[in-house]
Symmetry: C3
Subunit: 339 residues, 3 copies
Amino acid sequence: MSATHSASDLAARFDLELRGDPAWRIEGVATLARAGAHQLAFLANPRYRNQLAATGAGLVVMRAEDAEGFSGNALIAKDPYAAFAKMSALFDVRPAVVPGVHAMAVVDPSAEVSPEASIGPFVSIGPRTRVDAGAMIGPGCVIGEDCVVGAGCELVANVSLVRRVRLGKRVLIHPGAVLGADGFGLAMDHGRWLKVPQLGGVVVGDDCEIGANTTIDRGALDDTVLEEDVRLDNQIQIGHNVRIGAHSAMAGCSAVAGSATIGRYCLIGGGAGILGHLDVCDRVVVTAMSLVTSSIREPGEYSSGTPLMDNRSWRKSAARFKQLDALARQAAARNKEPQ
Amino acid sequence: MSATHSASDLAARFDLELRGDPAWRIEGVATLARAGAHQLAFLANPRYRNQLAATGAGLVVMRAEDAEGFSGNALIAKDPYAAFAKMSALFDVRPAVVPGVHAMAVVDPSAEVSPEASIGPFVSIGPRTRVDAGAMIGPGCVIGEDCVVGAGCELVANVSLVRRVRLGKRVLIHPGAVLGADGFGLAMDHGRWLKVPQLGGVVVGDDCEIGANTTIDRGALDDTVLEEDVRLDNQIQIGHNVRIGAHSAMAGCSAVAGSATIGRYCLIGGGAGILGHLDVCDRVVVTAMSLVTSSIREPGEYSSGTPLMDNRSWRKSAARFKQLDALARQAAARNKEPQ
Amino acid sequence: MSATHSASDLAARFDLELRGDPAWRIEGVATLARAGAHQLAFLANPRYRNQLAATGAGLVVMRAEDAEGFSGNALIAKDPYAAFAKMSALFDVRPAVVPGVHAMAVVDPSAEVSPEASIGPFVSIGPRTRVDAGAMIGPGCVIGEDCVVGAGCELVANVSLVRRVRLGKRVLIHPGAVLGADGFGLAMDHGRWLKVPQLGGVVVGDDCEIGANTTIDRGALDDTVLEEDVRLDNQIQIGHNVRIGAHSAMAGCSAVAGSATIGRYCLIGGGAGILGHLDVCDRVVVTAMSLVTSSIREPGEYSSGTPLMDNRSWRKSAARFKQLDALARQAAARNKEPQ
């Protein structure tokens, strides 16, 4: 099942300079610390530079300056991490997708499933849904009505697309993700909640990735939208009518409330929250567990929260936080006093 | 599949005043910004008032004061959002529930399934569980032993009710939700964790809604309880033996730890946390990502956290937070000095 | 289905001192407040001591000092909670696991399933995966290729093990959990995200428990590892290449980013976050919703955040937080002034 490539083959294929034995055989990839004689490793983060001397790796991809004095086989790359990512894909051998619909899948007669798509066991596909060529729907996935699964999409397992979810091409969705559930729309009416019908859908652009157990609600009236190449980690919550710009990435457990708009090339840290009806412009970085409470109009890095402290010290600071306004007023008053 | 109603029909049915053409035909709903000639829109939030002049909507529901000078067709409502919610339900056409048990469902012989319930494919129903008339169990749902699914409930897809989960009437549960899993009960015993058996259940009142991938653990001894009309968004965690009062609503990613009690008509913001063994009284609002660490005995709005700042400024404030107690002590000492 | 034990039987079996009627019949367990004449209750937390006088419990396990003057039947234990946990397991009667593969399960021909394992309906088991004796795979679980499910494991329902997930013995996994999904590995390459293949696996030690909808990604190159007896509550996110030491426990909604290492006997509070590439030493407690942003090298309790306040007061403190550095500089300047 494993692939083998010579060092010169890798250099040629990825247009990298090779220093060392062109015929050296590479059969897999590993970390610098653990790689063996026929494995490829990489050095990108300077803090791992001290592992280079002792590495057992048969080939290391790194920057030219890091390769000075290295006696082993080296591939020289401007961005060794990206180069490694591309090369390691050669060694990620997956079973070929076998087209066809499993005998224990249920497909509505009005659905259109490409003969080149693969539908696994215990999959349910609803009315008027379309699954294009090369799509792979893994075991236990449930796809409701009026959905589109574009060419080359992969729904790994136990994914739910509720209704009106339209995926572009090559969208990868990890297990337990739920797209197209009702948005959280409620109106209080005579002391009881009234449910606001959620009549929109979800549109996901080409090359998006959706993490395990992430949820993306469908829109109330318009659609919830992810533009192309958006990358969502696990356990993320995207409210109804959110729009996320192309090439933005969100780390695990972050959340965006309804009708917020996130720009392109944004990076949202783990556990961060973005309130509803806000606009966040392009190229904004929000650090982990920060809360965005108003629109952000300038690119840059934003944060909230307090630093970690030992609990005893923290209790003292926390108690003083409550007194901050009084302390500041006293200070202001003193500053106005004659000295 | 779509419904059509005249403006006068809508006015009569929802007891609203119509200004404009009674025969005007409405075929759907949309936002003020996007609605077309045969769509109904609404104006509730004053910040969208400027969209009114240019709207293409064939009919707009709004307050009387907003309708002054509006030349299009208008329905007048005291609460336009609630009125719109009710009217838009007319246009949320869903396929009728087809009663019966799918050939690829597995029902324990001791379970009681109403002939008027609908059990989808790949559903498993355990011993002594009862499913009442009009209930709809979607594909991939797993219901364990000793559960009750009340009349008119809907479990959309891939929902798990582990055991001893009793749902009232018209409970709506979105995909991936898990009710009745073991509470997190552990005792440390000679350096190893000892699991505390979780012998209680989960009781969910009428008209509750449970979001996608939300989890509600069953009680250790007594039950975990949601009273009627509780509304939970996605990715919420409810610990064992929690009780949530009627008509309370919680936004996405919020969490309540074991044995806490939440009152009626509470609103818990997204990502907020409530520690265990606390009591929160009725009509409490907790803002997003706040942490409740002691009981709340007065209705009102509560918060914790710090405001979002650019990262450079935030680092300075965060560093000073660690010094807060020392700063306050110095200030106090100075205040005692002779001036 | 229920068990019955005499008071003396319980005393003998768990090596506890009995004060009271040895023949008293116990048929179940309950809280001190609700227990009836034939139920066992416990008193561990001093704040429930006032419930002792009025309890209807037929037998109470508690410390010797709490039993002074109690007129009912008592079992004396140094750790009443642990003793109760062990005794209540007697009353947690579960249906016996019936070995065999359900007719509506799909098992790859190259998988090895022990004849003493139980495989439920709508379960899919992939190539080269091994399921050992006494393992129980509940309805809707999906197990991919190259996995191991050790002896006595239980996957309750709708659990996904994607690939290369190796579980030790007696691992309990609650519904909706996803182990072995791709880690969140991305490299930016000419303005687009490049996916970094995730070639490692997940290794879970004996006696671990994984909560509902928790996600544990597989490693990029090496494995993600949970040592033995790690206990994870619901909705937890564990990034790729994380290592969690034996006997550590994490409460609901907490998260650990990629390549962080957590020591043994750590307690991570609900909603807490730990950034990537950090080391947390043994016996560290992190309080709820705190964020760990650098390595912790000393055992102890750590916190971040601010206390809950009424929203009006909080707004004032929050506004002052932004001015903290300026306030501190002014104070420093004043302290240098001649008095």
